[in-house]
């Protein structure tokens, strides 16, 4: 069956009306209107128009309220790529990302990388995306007779590409994305193409395969358009007539899909991938209505196609949760009925333990989603809500526009593909914490149930037997520390971001105090949940706290008090006399506005942008009492 592009997005019912309204909107409000339209299923020309209108409607600069870091993306291609830039804007807008792009002169990427006076350097990209066409990489291959020659050829090609990555990183300070090659060459042998060493089709697949390992070594991310055509088909992405006519390897009709794939990566790099899948129950996880049909009447499990379809969706959802996606349930049901299949249906793949937050009642779903967000302590903008019922989907879209709500297909056999195709949970790397997240959030749910049965908060915190393990950054914690630095938005004093290399540099800097904190309690290990970095200033014996952030998972447990005590002690040992602290407000971090004040720092003034500066003389600081014991990790 041919799938419509962006079939998971709701259709745009009244394009000319909506676009007309948008054109009359105040520039400050226009961006949110653009985001809203970008989240509907636009036709190609509509998407192009919306992209062109961004400058006219919002101005050239990103809106002040933008919750993400603006992106300056250099799209460096070996053939025509200019027709792809509009889609980068719209793919970005779909994720509240502001993307300015630069394409440079046709095929001149190497010269531009070499020349510090080039337009590329003047553009100051934050990200460089290398988009090479297949002909550019394998077109000049000889007619190899031995497979070893083919191997050497693709090795050399990889090495050349790695050189470009290094140039982009070192000379431009940009992060790098490499596009995989589109397999545009028709096969010469067919299914056993690999037996012809000089076959362009074979060389492309070998290059793409080697690119994966090279990208891991260099810690760059791949834009896997070769994977996208596995599901979309080559024709959806490439038109050989347009390649010959205009040297466009990606056809203009595929531009919106291209822009969406790029934006998924950019969002994931900023920690903006969705985090939580909220599931309806009746006709979403099983067929029928548990309240009416009862345990024996619902359709689930082996034996018939519909039952197997729901089972395979549950299997997919369970795998998502195993790799770090939090699961929640939001169902209009009696709670007892709703829980019954989880505890008693023999073929349920999902168990009660897999669900971090279970809400079944008769209230409206928007209120319930707000409630779930509160209980899990994560933002509604990291929710995906899967419900077979168009009414519920629409009301949630209307009430909570920040929640992603896929248009689930009619056939449950296609639910899993829909969630996957939408790319909500696309991510660039996984850490140990991702694999343990399901357990972490389940444990949190238990902690909260203990909390609600305990009115004495101090007594409750003591009963958790919390231990805070701390130490300087080290290799083994680097990946998680980088992830935490780049995705923590709420409890974050300065919202400064560091690359993994930056974290490594801090780890090796004897002048810096760069601490990670891991919290263990009676319910389990929470993993690394906080990072504090203090750097030397121009005054000797004064350190400035450059970064202080904490995962909201452990909010309200006085971890920051224990961390402050550690920081002060570490500084004293080095003969430090005072700390400077800075609070830089963002749309999300209001909860830490009084952070330094609460520790006895004195105000040193405020900046125009609302940033405040604080100072603490260490000889005036007394350790803050708290229920957490401290354990220093030794290297």
């Amino acid at each position: 069956m041919e799938r419509e592009r962006f079939y998971w997005l709701p259709p745009c019912r009244d394009w000319s009306g909506e676009f007309g309204t948008l054109s009359k909107t105040d520039p400050a409000e226009a961006w949110s209107g653009i985001v809203k339209l970008a989240r509907t299923r636009l036709e190609y020309v509509q998407s192009e128009r919306l992209a062109r209108a961004v400058g006219r409607l919002c101005g050239e600069l990103p809106p002040n309220s933008l919750p993400t870091r603006p992106i300056r993306l250099a799209l460096l291609g070996s053939s025509t790529v200019d027709h792809l830039t509009a889609s980068l804007r719209i793919g970005g807008a779909r994720r509240d990302l502001w993307v300015d792009s630069y394409t440079g002169s046709y095929g001149q990427y190497w010269q531009e990388l070499e020349n510090p006076d080039s337009g590329l350097f003047r553009f100051r990209p934050t990200t460089v995306l290398f988009a090479f066409d297949a002909a550019h990489i394998v077109g000049h291959a000889g007619e190899f007779t031995a497979s070893t020659e083919a191997d050497e050829f693709t090795d050399a090609a990889i090495e050349r590409v790695e050189g470009f990555w290094t140039m982009a990183k070192e000379r431009l300070g940009a992060s790098v994305i490499q596009q995989t090659l589109l397999p545009v060459s028709p096969p010469l042998m067919g299914g056993n193409e690999h037996r012809l060493p000089w076959s362009p089709a074979y060389l492309v697949s070998q290059f793409n395969w080697k690119l994966r390992a090279a990208a891991d070594r260099a810690r760059i991310d791949l834009l896997a358009i070769d994977r996208a055509i596995e599901s979309d088909g080559l024709d959806a992405w490439h038109d050989s007539a347009l390649w010959l006519r205009a040297k466009q390897e990606v056809r203009p009709g595929a531009a919106p899909a291209y822009g969406d794939l790029v934006a998924r990566l950019l969002a994931a790099q900023q920690g903006r991938a969705s985090k939580c899948l909220v599931l309806d129950l009746d006709n979403t996880l099983w067929g029928g209505t548990i309240g009416d049909d009862g345990l024996g009447g619902i359709v689930l499990g082996e034996g018939n196609a519909a039952g197997e379809a729901f089972l395979s969706f549950q299997r997919y959802v369970r795998r998502l949760s195993r790799r770090g996606v939090i699961l929640a349930v939001c169902s209009k049901n009696d709670e007892h009925n709703a829980r019954l299949p989880f505890s008693s249906h023999p073929e349920m793949m999902l168990k009660a333990d897999d669900i971090a937050c279970f809400v079944a009642n008769w209230s409206d779903k928007a209120s319930n989603l707000r409630d779930i967000a509160g209980r899990l302590n994560i933002g509604l903008d990291s929710f995906v809500f899967a419900d077979d019922n168009p009414f519920e989907r629409n009301i949630v879209r209307q009430e909570l526009p920040m929640v992603m709500v896929p248009e689930l297909p009619e056939d449950p056999a296609r639910y899993a593909a829909c969630i996957a195709d939408a790319g909500y949970f696309d991510t660039t790397q996984l850490t140990k914490e991702d694999f343990e997240r399901a357990t972490l959030y389940r444990d949190n749910a238990k902690r909260r149930s203990l909390e609600s049965s305990t009115t004495d908060l101090a007594g409750y915190l003591r009963s958790l037997n919390m231990q805070l393990h701390y130490g300087q950054f080290e290799d083994i914690s680097g990946a998680r520390v980088t992830q935490l630095i780049n995705k923590t938005n709420q409890f974050n004093l300065t919202t400064k971001r560091y690359s993994e290399d930056g974290v490594k540099r801090l780890a090796g800097d004897p002048e810096a105090i760069a601490l990670h904190f891991r919290l263990v309690d009676q319910f389990g290990d929470n993993g690394i949940i906080s990072v504090v970095i203090a750097l030397p200033t121009e005054h000797s014996q004064v350190l400035e706290i450059d970064t202080w952030l904490m995962s909201c998972r452990v909010l309200g447990r006085q971890v920051e008090h224990a961390a402050m005590n550690v920081l002060a002690e570490k500084a004293r040992q080095r003969g430090i006399k005072a700390f400077l602290g800075r609070f830089i407000p963002t749309a999300k971090n209001a909860m830490v506005a009084n952070h330094y004040e609460s520790f006895g720092f004195l105000p040193m003034g405020a900046h125009e942008n609302g940033a405040t500066l604080w100072r603490l003389e260490l000889d005036r600081f007394n350790p803050i009492s708290n229920p957490i014991s401290l354990i220093e990790e030794s290297l």
């Binding site: 036709e43 190609y44 020309v45 192009e48 128009r49 209108a53 027709h83 006519r245 056809r251």
Partner: protein
């Protein structure tokens, strides 16, 4: 579909692609007379026209186009 209807649709497509509602095509209009209608935009226009009318152009057919009227006639020949 009449030539006038086809022209109106192409006019709409070009307005969208250039984000410019002042565009007013006539059969005699050539690409040079419309600001922003360059070779790259021309390809997008052709792609969008193919999509809108559910037709396919041959490369050779496109090389012969001199003005909007010829594009309208080409579309008409494929939709009739």
């Amino acid at each position: 579909m009449t030539p006038a209807e086809i022209l109106a649709q192409i006019n709409d497509i070009l307005r969208d692609l250039l984000d410019d509602d002042s565009i007013q095509l006539t059969p005699e209009t050539t690409s040079k007379q419309v600001a922003g209608w360059d070779s790259a935009l021309h390809i997008s226009l052709i792609v969008a026209v193919e999509h809108r009318f559910d037709i396919k152009f041959q490369t050779a057919e496109l090389e012969e186009l001199k003005d909007v009227g010829q594009l309208v006639r080409l579309v008409a020949s494929k939709t009739s």
